[in-house]
């Protein structure tokens, strides 16, 4: 059943609420510096977090279900080394495809993700500053931090935090990571996730996502979100639901799993005597397996009883990748021994 109510979000990194309905035609008080387009909101978030010292990264070049899957979050939240990154991550949730017709459900959408390790003491204030930066007038709106703990069964991860409400609408998720890939987070990372379409529709006062201005509405060639994405939403909805070759996808899942295992089983030291743990290539395979599972799920070929088993298989990969990453220098582990380097 691919009805409107498919509650399958547990397969994604974010279990709840990051893609729910969006209010229509909100009468945002138009401040003089209110943003006018989807991209302007993204640009403002970029500038804001860059000014606050984050490395502005680019999206990860693989299909993922949520911004958390980007190794800049999953892997970098592990280990002792400080980290501060912000990026947009295109996210795919095949079961949420609605052929571009639903005002607020998409199989491909964007998340804005910030990860700072260790979480700074003023993270809440920094976050509220970002809302002001994208045009939310703090004196007129009611911002609330409402309990919402996060758990990702696929990543073997959990944290405590809130969903942030603006006038009753969830605008972000705010999480203090406690465990990722089965490892305790020490220090703890603070993670912020903004559902960009929903947030932008709210700020821009748009009812249907496809009507949202993508670039400046006064530009010579003004484009809406629909101009950019309606066609692809239709195409991917059809492919996700009807056409994707399930036998091939199943094989790819098995292949990704096997390759991940093979990579992680390799010796730390290569033929030339260099110690190189291949955590990231292995993690790519884990991401692949996760997305393939989501595609199979959208095709309706995974039974209820099999679901847990598949999720468990992906989690097993994620844990092994985390085990590998924490042994690397990027995670703050001791560098490879001198003897090895001089060999």
């Amino acid at each position: 059943m691919h009805g409107f109510a498919c509650k399958r979000a547990q397969t994604y990194a974010y279990d709840r609420g990051r893609h729910g309905p969006t209010p229509k035609g909100i009468a945002m008080t138009q401040m003089p510096d209110a943003p006018r387009s989807f991209q302007e909101i993204i640009l403002r978030l970029m500038s804001y977090w860059a000014a606050k010292g984050c490395a502005v990264l680019q999206p990860y070049d693989m299909e993922v279900g949520a911004g958390t899957f980007h190794p800049a979050t999953t892997l970098r939240s592990l280990g002792a080394k400080p980290w501060a990154a912000a990026y947009v991550q295109p996210s795919r949730r095949p079961t949420d495809g609605r052929y571009g017709e639903n005002p607020n459900r998409l199989q491909h959408y964007y998340q804005y993700q910030v990860l700072i390790k260790p979480s700074p003491p003023d993270l809440q204030a920094l976050y509220l500053g970002s809302l002001a930066a994208i045009g939310i007038d703090m004196d007129l709106h009611d911002i609330r931090f409402v309990e919402d703990d996060w758990e990702s069964p696929t990543l073997g991860a959990w944290g405590l935090g809130w969903e942030v409400w603006c006038d009753g609408m969830e605008v972000s998720q705010f999480t203090y990571f406690q465990q990722v890939g089965g490892h305790d987070c020490h220090p703890v990372s603070g993670e912020l996730t903004y559902g960009l379409e929903r947030l932008a529709m709210y700020i821009l006062g748009v009812d249907h996502v496809m009507d949202m201005p993508y670039n400046d509405p006064d530009a010579p060639i003004a484009l809406t979100y629909g101009d950019v994405f309606r066609q692809t939403e239709q195409e991917y909805s059809r492919w996700n639901f009807d056409q994707a070759d399930t036998a091939m996808l199943l094989q790819h899942f098995v292949d990704a799993e096997a390759e991940c295992d093979r990579i992680l089983s390799a010796d730390d030291v290569d033929a030339a005597g260099r110690r190189i743990i291949m955590a990231h290539p292995a993690y790519d395979q884990c991401i692949k397996a996760s997305h393939l599972f989501n595609l199979l799920d959208a095709r309706g070929v995974i039974s209820v009883t099999e679901r847990q088993a598949y999720i468990g298989r992906v989690r097993a990969l994620a844990k092994r990748c985390a085990d590998a990453f924490v042994r690397t220098e990027a995670a703050g582990a001791a560098p490879a021994s001198r003897e090895l380097e001089t060999l």
Binding site: A5, P21, K24, D142, V146, D167, G168, P187
Partner: protein
């Protein structure tokens, strides 16, 4: 006498944890202070989303010195004993005193604990409270190792008296206490310096923080009611939501809005659930139409536009939510119209209930069969009960229940009516889940009762058959609640043999599990055969013989009445007996609330037909009233005395004294009086018992009290004449026999 103020200021504490946390803080700190010798006059605890606060009045300025004497080993004890004593007291050999004791010279330690100042004790106690705080879930943040529910930002701790105030210095990891805090996050974020509790609450109020959750609740409720009243509407009361909302705001501002016309046709439960669960809105009802027409939201601040922007935003969010709900509702109605309610539930074949108990569809098939069996007993039409069971869970596959799981059953009722199913079937969709808790209403419609019983019994027998019983505090499938549900359903509605229903249901599970069981048994038999040196066939034969004997002894009716395959019944018998015992345990808990002692219930459980819970409870209630009366207590003593003498004689003589007491051998009036009294009692008790009139039977037993007392006062049972002795023992047996059909009085204590 100084007063103390403590505030733990953090990021937003989940609403559901705040009240408990305030109480825990109070208990931890007060217990710690008292234990350290610091007593107080009164204390109060408060919570807001960002703070836990404790205020104490009339604290001692310092604890009293304590002198403690401890007795040690004998003076000539081995050195190891002395060293141990020195370690435990922290003294040296020279500091010990040697005193004369009854057994010789003994070491004594005199420990003097000097009084300590309040700040020193407070600092220690508060630090321990913070480090050991019992949050249901806690976390670390930044680089620290301290755990709190969310990051803890500051500790305010001030001790004040007429002379002034001082900060109690407390250090917990990177946090150091002070005398400052902050106001409302948005309306007055500046730092405040406070001197004591009064100053604190006054300054907080000016900084838009209402400290007392009770006051916030009252303010919200009052304002919401006023606004609704002014519009000719009324708020639907919801105490749980009120408490939650009061935990989400420091400065409550009530805003009321109207639900869009397009959504007013949605079922009231859908509107209420959607608003409550997702938006934490109160529902506002129009008393004239009875419909939910508006909502109340509680903001955390005042704004220059009097909340207009906030209300508009909330209204838009609600519209989006309700558009979804409307879409689900219309979609589901279309589905039901096209394929019927059973068609909607077709997908349940693919939904696993439990991996050992099959799919939801398997379960529904079993429940439907069992509901048919139960129907005639509870006065329901068997076909209708089966039909109701078949569709009662279909709404689990509806879009609406997918979005709002708490509407299961409720939506089924709506969809059943839309599909034109009989009202009894529609009602069963919701009612078959009842009763959910000890205070939940018990359904009374026969069809609902049949399906509700079948649903719960199937759950219980299923988990018993796969040996997943509740243990200790673990009851993941809520089996205790299911058993209580069965008890309450039966007591309210039916006379039935629970054992035969359990057996019938257990057989159904058996057929599913048979393959697995037989595999296991085969390997067990092979093992036993090699151990005993006999053939596997011989083991199987012996085992069957043993099982059969046990079955015939314990529950012959399972073989005789129900027509159940003997072999199957035998296999499931231990599970059936065990589950019945579980019901009896739950019944004890249930009756304990009525003040009926467990031994009184045991005396009734020991009687035949103890699986007829209505009979069992009637018997227990009557026996309880009887035993707690004066006559009952004395009769019990008489019975026990008779029974003891009789049992001793029977053991000694190796015979059973059960028949042949003859009044012609009676020698005294007391003896003859007992004969006549027993004749009279038996005459009345027998028909009363046949009519299950326990009260009359027990009143009649009570009349035996005086004759029995008189008998024991004047008659020597162990007479010299063997004939007389035997006659008297046989007479005592008549006492035992008269009491026997009422209850097993030997089980009663005292």
């Amino acid at each position: 006498m100084p007063d103390m103020l403590l505030e733990l200021f953090s990021e937003e504490i989940p609403a559901r944890m705040q009240a408990r946390a305030a109480a825990d803080l109070k208990k931890l700190v007060m217990d710690g202070l008292v234990e350290a010798g610091l007593t107080y006059a009164s204390a109060g605890a408060f919570s807001t989303p960002r703070r836990l606060v404790l205020t104490i009045e009339g604290l001692l300025a310092e604890s009293k010195p304590v002198r403690e004497e401890r007795k040690g080993p004998k003076a000539d004890a081995p050195d190891a004993a002395l060293q141990g004593f020195l370690r435990s007291t922290g003294l040296t050999r020279e500091q010990l005193e040697v005193r004369d004791d009854k057994k010789g010279q003994v070491f004594f330690a005199v420990l003097e604990k000097p009084g300590r100042s309040a700040p020193a004790i407070i600092a220690e106690v508060v630090e321990a409270a913070i480090r050991n705080f019992p949050w249901p879930k806690s976390m670390r943040w930044g680089t620290g190792t301290l755990r709190w529910v969310r990051p803890l930002h500051s500790i305010l701790c001030v001790l004040s008296d007429e002379g002034g105030n001082e900060v109690v210095p407390i250090t917990v990891d990177h946090l150091t206490s002070g005398n400052t805090t902050y106001g409302h996050r948005f309306m007055a974020p500046a730092r405040l310096t406070v001197t004591g509790f009064e100053d604190y609450t006054a300054k907080l109020r000016r900084a838009f923080v209402m400290l007392d959750a009770g006051e916030r609740e009252a303010a919200i409720w009052q304002d919401a009611q006023n606004q609704a009243f002014a519009a000719g509407l009324e708020i639907v009361p919801d105490a749980g939501l009120l408490a939650e909302v009061a935990g989400l705001v420091e400065w409550p501002v009530v805003l009321m809005g109207r639900i869009g016309e397009a959504f007013l046709g949605l079922p009231a439960e859908v509107l209420q659930t959607s608003m409550r669960e997702h938006q934490k809105f109160f529902s506002v009802k129009n008393p004239k139409t009875g419909r939910i027409e508006g909502f109340v939201t509680v903001a955390n601040r005042e704004t220059a536009d009097y909340g207009a922007t906030i209300l508009a935003g909330n209204n838009k969010v609600l519209s989006a939510r309700l558009s979804d709900a409307k879409f689900f509702w219309e979609n589901d109605l279309r589905t039901v119209g096209a394929v019927g309610l059973d068609g909607m539930g077709a997908g349940l074949a693919n939904v696993t209930f439990h991996n050992k108990l099959g799919s939801q569809a398997d379960r529904i098939t079993r429940i439907a069969a069992l509901a048919r069996e139960i129907a005639p007993i509870v006065g329901a039409d068997a076909d209708m009960a089966e039909q109701a069971a078949n569709v009662a869970k279909a709404d689990l596959q509806s879009a609406m229940v997918g979005e709002f799981p708490e509407l299961q059953g409720t939506m089924g009722g709506y969809y059943a009516r839309a599909a034109g199913l009989p009202e009894a079937v529609a009602a069963a969709c919701k009612a078959h889940y009842s009763p959910l808790g000890p205070t939940d209403d018990v359904p009374s419609d026969p069809v609902s009762v049949a399906v509700a019983l079948a649903d719960k019994i199937d759950t219980l027998t299923g988990f018993w058959a796969i040996d997943e019983k509740p243990t200790g505090s673990k009851d993941p499938y809520a089996l205790r609640r299911a058993a209580l549900g069965v008890i309450r359903l039966v007591l309210g509605n039916a006379r039935l043999s629970l054992a035969s229903l359990i057996a019938t249901s257990m057989i159904d599970h058996y057929h599913r599990l048979y393959r697995e069981l037989s595999l296991q048994r085969r390997s067990g038999i092979a093992e036993a055969a090699s151990e005993l040196g006999i053939s596997p066939f011989e083991v199987e034969r012996l085992k069957m013989e043993a099982d059969k004997r046990k079955l015939q002894a314990e529950r012959p009716e399972l073989l005789a009445d129900t027509g159940i395959d003997e072999r199957v019944a035998r296999t499931m018998l231990p599970y059936t007996i065990d589950l019945l015992a579980f019901f009896h345990d739950r019944l004890k808990v249930f009756l304990k609330d009525e003040g009926i002692r467990h031994d009184i219930i045991d005396a009734c459980i020991a009687m035949p037909n103890n699986d007829d819970l209505t009979l069992l409870v009637n018997r227990a209630r009557a026996l309880n009233a009887f035993i707690t009366s004066d006559d009952g207590t004395n009769l019990l003593q008489g019975f026990k005395r008779a029974n003891n003498i009789l049992t001793q004689a029977e053991t000694k003589d190796g015979v059973e004294y059960s028949y042949g007491a003859d009044i012609k051998f009676a020698e005294t009036d007391a003896e003859r009086g007992l004969f006549h009294a027993l004749d009279a009692a038996e005459y009345t008790i027998k028909p009363a018992m046949e009519a299950e009139d326990f009260a009359t039977a027990m009143q009649e037993l009570a009349k035996l009290r005086a004759p029995i007392d008189a008998f024991f006062d004047t008659v020597q049972v162990n007479a010299d004449s063997e004939v007389i002795r035997r006659n008297r023992l046989n007479l005592l047996h008549r006492i035992r026999a008269a009491c026997a059909p009422v209850a097993d009085l030997t089980k009663i204590e005292g």
